[in-house]
Structure formats: C-alpha cells, structure tokens
Amino acid sequence: MIADIFVRIGYAAISLFILTNYGLLLIGSMARISAKVQGRVGQPVWQPYIDIIKSIAKRNSIGHGVMFYLGPVFRLAGGIGTYMFIPAVFGSVLFRNFSDSGDLLLVMYFIFFGQLGMALGASEGGHPYSALGVSRGLAQMTAFEVPFALSVIAVVIQYGTLDITAIVAAQQGGFLNWTLFTNPLAVLAAMIAFLGMSGHNPFSVVLAPQEIPIGPPTEYHSNLLGMLQTNRAVFNGAKLVLYMNLFFGGATNIVIMVIKTFLIYFINIFVGQAFPRFRTDQSIRFFLGVPTVVGIISVIIAVL
C-alpha cells in the first residue's frame, strides 16, 4: 500500500516534470508564432528555460516580509495543485495523477487559490503597481469566473458528475461526443473565459506593461521570479489539460494531448495578436455580458 503510494507520487512527479517542460516549450513556441505575425524571427523556443535558469542564478534578492515570499509559493502550489487533480492523459497510469482523489470543484478551487495567494504576496511588495495589478487581476478573475463557472456547471449537469475522469470517459468514442459538439454554448462561454484566464490580449490588463508595469509581479525577482515563471508553464499546462478534458474529449495518448492543448492555447495567440487590451471595467463588462448570457443559456440547455 505504502509502496503503491510512492509509485503514484513518483508517477505524478514524472507527469509534472513532463508537463512543466511541455508548458515551457509551449510558451516558447507561442512566442515564436507571435513573432512571425509581427514580422520577425522571435526568441528561441527554449528561451523560457534560460530565463528561469537566469532568474535562479541571480545572486541576491530582497524580501518584503513572509507573505511576500509566500506569494509565489502559493501560486506555484496552486498551479501544481490544479494539475495534480486532473488526468492529463485518459487511461494512462503515468498521467492520471491524483485525479481520482479530487474532483472538478477542487481543481477550480486551486485555480483561484494561486491567484489569491499571489494577490496576498504581491500586495506586500509595497509597489503601487503590484497593488493595482492585484486589484485588476482579482476583479477580472471574478468576472471571467462567471462564464467559466456557468459552463462548468453546464458540463457537470450534462454529464452528471464532478469527476473529471468520468467526464472525459463520457466524451470518448468519436469527436462528436466532445462537449464542443454536445454543448457548444458552454464551450463558447468557457473559451471566452479562457482568454481572460490566460491573460493574453485583449484581457492582459493585469500585467499591462504600458500602464502598470508589470502588475502583480513587479517586485518579484531572482528565484521568486523563477518560481513564477515555472508556475506559468505548469498552470498554463494544467488549465489546457483541464479544458481539453472538459470540452475537447480529453486525450488518450500524449501526442493527442499535445496537439489538442497546443491548438487550444493557439486560440489565445490568434485573438491576442489582433486586438489591443480592454480596460478592467471594459473587460468586466464584457465577461458579464455576452459570455455570461451564453453560459446561462448553456446551463439552461443542460438542465433541460
């Protein structure tokens, strides 16, 4: 029994490791694609690795109290936590993580958890931009969580379970079984929320270099920044896997997972390169508008 637990922990660690690397490469390749649109070559795909190593290689760092240090820790914990309770590849022992121990609600909690932890830590930095960024981030998060939650509710109602593995299982057997086709409105609402969740344009107001450079992480540096950068890969990966599982039929092997998550992520870039960013009030108004209505309709449809 104990051995079994250790094996699972080992598997989870490997899974996390692979996901982290995948997340980093994903960020790197998306930067390449953006660069292409912008008419340039762009950074190497492995640039995120170097940046993290560089951050860790910084010699000194300063602190602003315990909470300041805990911010990135919470954030990373949130990222890892999110991932740990999602099965990355349906049916794979290696990638099932601890998905049987937690359900969708726990995952959604973790998505929030990281943000909140970050908010607490960043505010401690004393920088007004951090504080502004945090308030914007929380405000926007609250807004996009509405359509996201609605679509999750719709999905849960549709499949009658909170267990992600079960949701994935329900979608197997042909792409027409995917939520995308069985409940397109929920997916639409969720995808719009996803744009907000990833912080790409037009919902990048949290980081907004031209306005509040660069929002919550303004004061973070050195290995704390390295932690945040790693988390970005983990958290992005986790969200992508979650979306894939909930709406796009999950993945039966790692190749399909890579293709699906890549395409889901690409939507961010596809929209992000075309639009400037909303102001906070505009994005809140936006999320509480059409996507929320769509989400509600999808819930209604699911209930019916």
């Binding site: 007004p128 504080a131 502004l132 270099p209 639009f275 960013r277 909303f278």
Partner: protein
C-alpha cells in the same frame, strides 16, 4: 458602452486631493515607465481606477540647449539644434537655419528649398510612423509597433543614404543643404514609399477597424474646440477639433505653396479622431514626397555661399521662424546682437503646451489605464519641452 463614447470634460478647477484621507493613491508614472513617451513623469493621484489629479514633471532630459547655444558660434549650433527633439530633428535644423538665413539675408538656392521640403516631409512620415506604434502599444496592441518601427527604419535608411545619418541627419545646414541626392536615390524613395503605403493599409485595417481600439480611443481625451486658443494647441491636435490650421499653408514656407495638399481636418476631437487624422496625414506625407520628387529641379546648386563659419557674425536683430511639425507649431526664436554667437535662442516646442497644461487638464477623470494612451494621442516629445 454608450457612456464611454460620450465626451468627458473634466472639471476646470483643480481640486487638491487630501492624500492623508486614505481615499487616494499617489502614483508616479515615469520616468522609468514604458507607457510614458520619452523620459518624463506624471505624478498621479488616483481614486480607484480614476485619476483625480495630475502633475507633470519634466526636466529629465534638460541639457540646457539654450544656454549652450549662447556659448557656441552660429555654425557650431547647427549640429546642436537637431538634438532638441530626438525623434524629429529636422524641424529644428530647418527652423534654426531659416532664422539664421533670414537674419543674415541669405537667399538659399531653389534646389535647397526643395530638398529641405523633401527631407522635412520624410521626417514627418518617420515621426508619425514612430507615433503610430506608440499609440497602438499604449493600448496594448504590440503588433503594430513591430510593423511600423520597421517602416520607420526603412525611412531612416533613406535618410542615411541622403544625409549619412540615421537619427541625427544634420542635413539642413544654414545656407542650404549638405549634399545633392545620390544617384538612383529617388527610385529607392519611391520603392520605400510604396512599401510604407502598403503597410499603412494593413495597419489601417488592423488598428483603425478594431473594436477594442475603438472602444479604448473613442471619447478619450476630448478637446473642446474653444480650448484650442486658450491652451495654445496646434497641429493635428487642433485640426482634430475642426480648426483648420496648418502652418505649411498659413506661412507658406519652403516649397509648400507649390505643392498640392489640403490640411486634414477632423471634428470629433478625441483620441481616435486624432489617430485617424494622423493616419491620413501619413498618406498625405507620402503624396507630398512623391510630388516633391516630381517637381524638384534636377540640376542646380544646393547651397548658397555663407561667410567663414569660424567667424560668422550675424547682423543684430531677432526673428521667429515656425514650421508645422508633426505635433504642431515648432519654432525658433533667435536673437542676434551682431556678434559671433547668438544672443538668445528660444525653442517653442508644441509639446510644451500639449504635454504639460493640456495633459494635466485632460488626464483628470481618466481611467489610469488610459493615461498612456491619452499621452500618446497628444503626441508629445519631452525633450522639446525642457530642451
């Protein structure tokens, strides 16, 4: 959404917010801030997301040009003046050279007149190309700047070919210009103009027909027409309010009377209108450059004789030479006491009014996120404020 589009006129009286009340947050935007044009800072007091008070702080780029010019001889000032406005140096060169020529009674050759017109229009285009990237970037659109900066770079290549310098051209020398065009130059210019025009079409499609950009820019920074004279607003900022004022037409300097163009005038006077107007002016620039190439005399001297630069004494007198730059009225006030050095040179940069008094007034009541966009939409260059 309707509320956003309604022009917002901030209160005229400047209330002093009580910073100790805990209701407000004091925030510095700049000098180390990507959302500020150049090296300048704004001291913002915000309440929630709204700016309630703003003070501009300038002087980070102050080099004391006006004092330095009093220490240098008339010709030595020629390389100095272009540094006053970094992104758009040629207007400095022109105003200074024209003032000096006027005081000394030097008539410049026809060819120099045309080459000056040509290079000023080219400069205008480069400056607008720089601005358009900033305007898109300030609202978070990172793609436009990547394109426009390259277009600007192509224009800078043209400058390099003509003058030998990318940023500081030092081409419009008192007495004329410093060289004729190299062989095959105009062909290259026309090619670049075609490329730029094609890219401007793309930019127009992506930036000006963009729901989010419109949402951000429309109604932002509305300048009522009656402010134009009260605040001394000039250039596109004034024209966007429907005031048809263009010194190129009004003063008729250089070869502009021979060129065919009409000042672009807007009406809505908000950030989007100003942006739209500047885009049209960019097309106009390209057109004027093409006209210049057609009409320019092929032969002839490009520089009049001037006295020995080491001992040039300019007859006592004073003059004010202004030109329409991308931001508005750019002028040099030059006073000579008859000696080898200027008595006083004062530079009138349009940003002086736009970035200080107009900005301070307009920014009140604006969302903190829009401060950068508003500032860029006024098209300000701090170096010309503080010299």
């Amino acid at each position: 959404m309707k509320r956003d589009r309604m022009p917002y006129i901030p209160p005229a009286e400047r209330a002093t917010p009580d910073l100790d009340s805990g209701k407000y947050l004091l925030m510095w935007q700049g000098p180390q801030h990507p959302g500020i044009t150049g090296n300048m800072s704004l001291r913002l007091v915000i309440e929630g997301d709204t700016v309630v008070d703003c003070e501009t702080h300038v002087g980070y780029l102050h080099r004391g040009f006006e004092k330095l010019m009093e220490r240098r001889s008339w010709m030595q000032n020629f390389p100095l003046v272009c540094r006053i406005a970094v992104p758009e140096p040629d207007f400095n060169e022109y105003c200074y050279a024209a003032a000096l020529e006027e005081l000394s009674g030097i008539q410049i050759p026809e060819k120099a007149v045309w080459l000056r017109t040509f290079s000023l229009e080219l400069m205008r285009l480069a400056s607008y190309l720089m601005w358009i990237g900033g305007q898109a970037g300030s609202f978070g659109h990172g793609t436009i700047i990547q394109w426009s900066a390259t277009m600007r770079d192509y224009v800078l290549d043209l400058f390099e070919e003509l003058t030998g310098g990318r940023i500081y051209h030092m081409y419009i020398i008192p007495g004329g210009v410093r060289g004729d065009v190299p062989a095959g130059y105009f062909k290259h210019v026309l090619e670049v103009m075609d490329t730029v025009q094609k890219n401007l079409d793309d930019i127009e499609l992506v930036m000006y027909h963009n729901a989010v950009f419109k949402l951000r820019a429309e109604g932002l920074g509305y300048i009522p027409p009656d402010w134009i004279d009260r605040y001394g607003i000039t250039g596109p900022n004034a024209r966007a309010a429907g005031i048809k004022r263009d010194l190129r037409k009004d003063l008729g300097y250089l070869a502009y009377p021979q060129l065919e163009f009409q000042p672009v005038v807007g009406s809505k006077s908000d950030a989007f209108e100003r942006a739209r107007l500047r885009l049209q002016e960019m097309y106009q620039c390209i057109d004027l450059i093409r006209q210049c190439i057609d009409l320019m005399p092929k032969e002839g001297p490009f520089r009049a004789k001037t006295p020995n630069p080491l001992y040039w004494k300019v007859p006592a007198g004073e003059t004010y030479v202004a030109a329409e730059c991308t931001r508005g009225e750019y002028g040099f006030y030059v006073v000579s006491d008859g000696s080898e050095k200027p008595r006083r040179v004062a530079v009138r940069g349009p940003s002086y009014t736009h970035a200080v008094s107009v900005m301070e007034r307009l920014v009140r009541g604006v969302n903190i996120a829009d401060v950068a966009g508003l500032m860029v939409s006024l098209h300000t260059y701090p170096p010309e404020i503080e010299r």
